[in-house]
C-alpha cells in the first residue's frame, strides 16, 4: 500500500517536473522565435528594401487572415466580402490624414476610429444576414463587398468624397513625436529605413492580435463561436445568445480588418478602389483555408505562404526560363499566376483540411458532405 502510494507520488512528481521542463523549453522557443523575427528586418534589408516592403504587406495579410479567421474559422460564417472592412479602414485613414480634406490627425487617433467605423460596417452587414446560412451568406457578403467598392469608386460626384477611381494620394505616414516613418534614421551604425520602422510597428500589432486571438479562442466567447459553428440550434438551446455572438464575430473580424486597412493606407501612401476588389477577398479566404481554418498558426502560415510564394516566383520564373530554354517562352507574369493557381489546386488535393488544420475543425467539417 505504502509503496504504491509513494510510487504514485513519484510519478506525479516526475510528471510535474517534466511539465515544467516543457513549459520552460516552450518559453525559450517562443523567445528565440521572437528574437529571430525581430532581427529578420535587417536580413531582409540586406536583400534589398523591396523585400522589407514585401514582408510588410505579408504581415498586413496575416493580420487580415487572422481577422477573417474569427468569422470563418471560429464562428463558421463564410464571408466573401471581407476586404470591404480593410477598405473602410484604409479610406478612413486616407480621408483623415491627407490633403484631400486638409485633415492631418495623428495615426493613434485614426486607427481606433478606423477600427470603430469598420466594426460598425461589420454590424451593418451582420445584422440583416443573421438568418442566412452557408452559401447564401457567402453571396450576400460578396455583394456587400462589391457595393462598398462601387461606392468608393463613384462617390466623387456630386460631392467629392473619395476622389473616385483616381484614389487618394499623399497620405500622411506614421509619426511618433519627432520620429517620422517616412524617413531614414541612424542609431549608431544601424540604419532604420521607413519600411523597417513599419516592420517593427507591424510586428507589435501582430503580436497583440495573436495574443488577443489566443485569449479569444479559449474564452467563453470563443467557445460560443465554436458551438454556433458546430450546431447553431444546439448552441441556442444551450443558452447562447446566438444573435449577439454572431454579430460579435462580424464586428471583431471587421475591426481587425479596419486596423490593417489603416496601416495599409499609411504604408502605401495611396489608396484607390482597385486595391479592394473581390479577388482580394478571395485571396484572404484562400489564405485562411489553405493554412487551416480555425488554427491561428495555420492561418499565419497560410497567409505568409500565399504572400511570399507569388513574390518568390516573380524573381525566379524569368531566370529559370532563361536557364532552361535560353529565352523567354512564356510571359513570367502569366506563368507566375499559373503556378500559383496550380499550387492552390494541388494543396487542396493533398491537404484538403489545410496545411495545418485544427483537429476539432477537421472532424466537424468532414460531416455533412456527400
Amino acid at each position: 500500500m505504502k509503496t504504491t502510494r509513494s510510487g504514485v507520488s513519484e510519478k506525479a512528481n516526475a510528471c510535474e517536473s517534466r511539465r515544467y521542463a516543457v513549459a520552460k523549453s516552450h518559453r525559450e522557443r517562443v523567445g528565440l522565435v521572437l528574437v529571430a523575427v525581430a532581427l529578420m528586418a535587417f536580413v531582409l534589408a540586406s536583400a534589398g528594401t523591396a523585400w522589407v516592403r514585401i514582408t510588410n504587406f505579408a504581415v498586413l495579410f496575416v493580420l487580415l487572415s487572422l481577422g477573417l479567421n474569427i468569422v470563418v474559422g471560429f464562428a463558421g460564417l463564410l464571408d466573401l466580402g471581407y476586404i470591404a472592412f480593410y477598405a473602410v479602414g484604409a479610406y478612413v485613414y486616407a480621408l483623415l490624414a491627407s490633403p484631400h480634406f486638409g485633415l492631418h490627425l495623428p495615426f493613434w487617433i485614426i486607427l481606433p476610429i478606423g477600427a470603430a467605423v469598420a466594426c460598425l460596417a461589420g454590424i451593418v452587414l451582420g445584422a440583416p444576414t443573421l438568418r442566412l446560412r452557408g452559401d447564401y451568406l457567402a453571396i450576400v457578403t460578396l455583394g456587400f463587398g462589391e457595393i462598398v467598392r462601387i461606392f468608393m469608386n463613384n462617390l466623387s460626384s456630386p460631392v467629392n468624397l473619395t476622389n473616385g477611381p483616381k484614389g487618394i494620394n499623399r497620405i500622411d505616414p506614421f509619426q511618433i513625436g519627432p520620429l517620422k516613418f517616412s524617413a531614414s534614421d541612424t542609431f549608431g551604425s544601424l540604419i532604420f529605413s521607413g519600411p523597417i520602422k513599419y516592420y517593427y510597428f507591424l510586428l507589435l500589432v501582430l503580436l497583440a492580435v495573436i495574443v488577443i486571438n489566443r485569449r479569444l479562442q479559449d474564452s467563453r466567447i470563443g467557445r460560443a463561436w465554436v458551438a454556433i459553428r458546430e450546431d447553431e440550434i444546439a448552441a441556442k438551446a444551450g443558452g447562447i445568445n446566438t444573435r449577439n455572438i454572431k454579430l460579435l464575430a462580424f464586428a471583431m473580424g471587421a475591426s481587425f480588418g479596419g486596423i490593417a486597412g489603416g496601416m495599409f493606407a499609411a504604408i502605401q501612401g495611396f489608396v484607390s478602389p482597385e486595391s479592394f476588389i473581390l479577388n482580394e477577398s478571395i485571396m484572404v479566404l484562400a489564405m485562411v483555408v489553405l493554412g487551416g481554418m480555425g488554427n491561428i498558426w495555420g492561418v499565419i502560415a497560410g497567409a505568409a505562404l500565399l504572400s511570399f510564394v507569388p513574390e518568390l516566383l516573380r524573381y525566379t520564373v524569368e531566370p529559370a526560363q532563361r536557364a532552361l530554354f535560353g529565352k523567354l517562352l512564356v510571359d513570367p507574369e502569366v506563368l507566375r499566376m499559373l503556378v500559383f493557381g496550380l499550387a492552390l489546386v494541388l494543396t487542396m488535393r493533398f491537404r484538403p483540411a489545410g496545411l495545418w488544420p485544427e483537429t476539432r475543425h477537421r472532424r466537424e467539417l468532414n460531416e455533412g458532405r456527400v
Binding site: R229, L338, M348, R349
Partner: protein, 328 residues
C-alpha cells in the same frame, strides 16, 4: 414609356444570358452543393473558341448564319470537354473533403483557366466580327435588334430543352434523385459519378452558348469577361434559390431586368433638382436646368447586389429555394 420598354428589352436580353449561365451553377450545386467558381471561365473559353472559329471563317464565302453556327458548334464540345475535365481532375478527388476545400480548388482552377486564355488569346479585348447584318426593329417607340431577338429565343429554347431533359427523361430522374439524396439514389441504382459528371458537362455546354451570345451582344470577348458574368449569374442562381432549376431562370431574368431598369431610372430619380424640397439649399446648382445627381448609371452593379441582399433578407433561401444548407 419608350425608355421603360427599351430597358425591359435590354434587361430581358442580358437576363436570359444570366439565366443560361446560372443554370450551370445551379445544376452543379443541386447535386454536390459546390459553388463551381470556375464556371464563369468556362463561359469565357466558350466565347473565345467561338471567336477564333468565326474570325477564321469570316473571310470565306459561307453564309453568315452558318459561320456563327460553326462557332457555336466548336465552342460547345470544347466547353463540355472542359467541364468534364474540371470535374474529373479538380473536384472529384475532393468529394469527401471539407466543405471549403473545393471552393479553393475552384478559385485555383479559375486562375489557371483565365491565364491559359491569356496565353492563347492575348491581353487585349477581341472584337467579334460583325458578320450578321444586325437589323433593328422598332416596337412601340423602342428598338430591338435581331441579335437581341436571337438571344432571347435561343435562351428560352435552351431552358425549355433543359426542363424537358430534367423532368421528362430517365436520366433527368436520376439527376433529381441524386440532388435529393446521393446515397439513396445510389441504392436505387443511379450511378452518382455519371450524374455528377453529366451536370458539369451540360452546364458547360449551356455556358458555351451563353458565352457566344454574350460576346456577340457586346461585340467583345476578353479573358476576364468570365469573372463578372459568372458573378452575376451566380447571384442570379442564389436569388432564385440555388439548386433549383426554375429558380435560376427566374433569378437570371429578374436580375437582368432590375439591372436595366435601375440603370435607366436611377439618375432621374436621385436628381435632387427634381425634388421640390431640395431646391432651397441647392439653389444655384439647379439653376438653368442643372443637375445634382446622387447616383448615376455607374451604380449598375449595386442594383443587382442590393436586390439580391434584400430578397435574401426576406427569403433566406431565395425566391424558389426550399433547402437551407446547415452550415458554412
Amino acid at each position: 414609356m419608350d425608355i421603360l420598354l427599351q430597358q425591359i428589352i435590354n434587361g430581358l436580353t442580358t437576363g436570359s444570358v444570366y439565366a443560361v449561365v446560372a443554370l450551370g451553377y445551379t445544376m452543379v450545386y443541386g447535386v454536390i452543393q459546390l459553388i463551381n467558381f470556375a464556371h464563369g471561365e468556362v463561359v469565357m473559353i466558350g466565347a473565345m473558341v467561338a471567336f477564333s472559329v468565326i474570325t477564321a471563317l469570316a473571310g470565306s464565302n459561307l453564309p453568315p448564319l452558318v459561320i456563327v453556327l460553326a462557332g457555336v458548334m466548336a465552342a460547345v464540345p470544347a466547353c463540355m470537354l472542359m467541364g468534364f475535365l474540371l470535374e474529373r481532375v479538380a473536384y472529384r478527388p475532393l468529394r469527401h473533403a471539407p466543405r471549403l476545400a473545393p471552393l479553393i480548388t475552384a478559385i485555383g482552377m479559375s486562375i489557371i483557366l483565365q491565364h491559359l486564355a491569356l496565353l492563347v488569346w492575348g491581353r487585349n479585348p477581341l472584337a467579334f466580327p460583325q458578320i450578321i447584318d444586325n437589323r433593328v426593329f422598332g416596337i412601340g417607340g423602342a428598338a430591338i435588334s435581331s441579335v437581341q431577338i436571337a438571344i432571347i429565343l435561343m435562351s428560352l429554347a435552351m431552358m425549355a430543352g433543359l426542363s424537358w431533359f430534367v423532368y421528362r427523361t430517365r436520366f433527368g430522374i436520376a439527376i433529381r434523385a441524386t440532388a435529393e439524396n446521393v446515397h439513396v439514389a445510389g441504392l436505387m441504382g443511379v450511378n452518382a459519378d455519371r450524374v455528377i459528371a453529366a451536370t458539369f458537362i451540360i452546364g458547360a455546354g449551356l455556358g458555351a452558348v451563353a458565352g457566344v451570345m454574350y460576346g456577340s451582344y457586346y461585340g467583345i470577348a476578353h479573358y476576364t469577361m468570365g469573372f463578372n458574368l459568372g458573378l452575376k449569374a451566380f447571384s442570379a442562381a442564389v436569388l432564385g434559390g440555388i439548386g433549383n432549376i426554375a429558380g435560376a431562370m427566374l433569378g437570371g431574368i429578374l436580375l437582368g431586368l432590375v439591372e436595366a431598369l435601375g440603370t435607366g431610372y436611377v439618375g432621374e430619380l436621385t436628381d435632387l433638382c427634381t425634388w421640390p424640397m431640395a431646391h432651397g439649399w441647392l439653389g444655384e446648382r439647379c439653376a438653368d436646368g442643372g443637375h445634382f445627381v446622387l447616383f448615376g448609371s455607374n451604380y449598375q452593379d449595386v442594383f443587382a447586389f442590393l436586390t439580391l441582399i434584400l430578397v435574401l433578407v426576406f427569403r433566406p433561401s431565395g425566391l424558389l429555394g426550399e433547402r437551407v444548407s446547415e452550415r458554412a
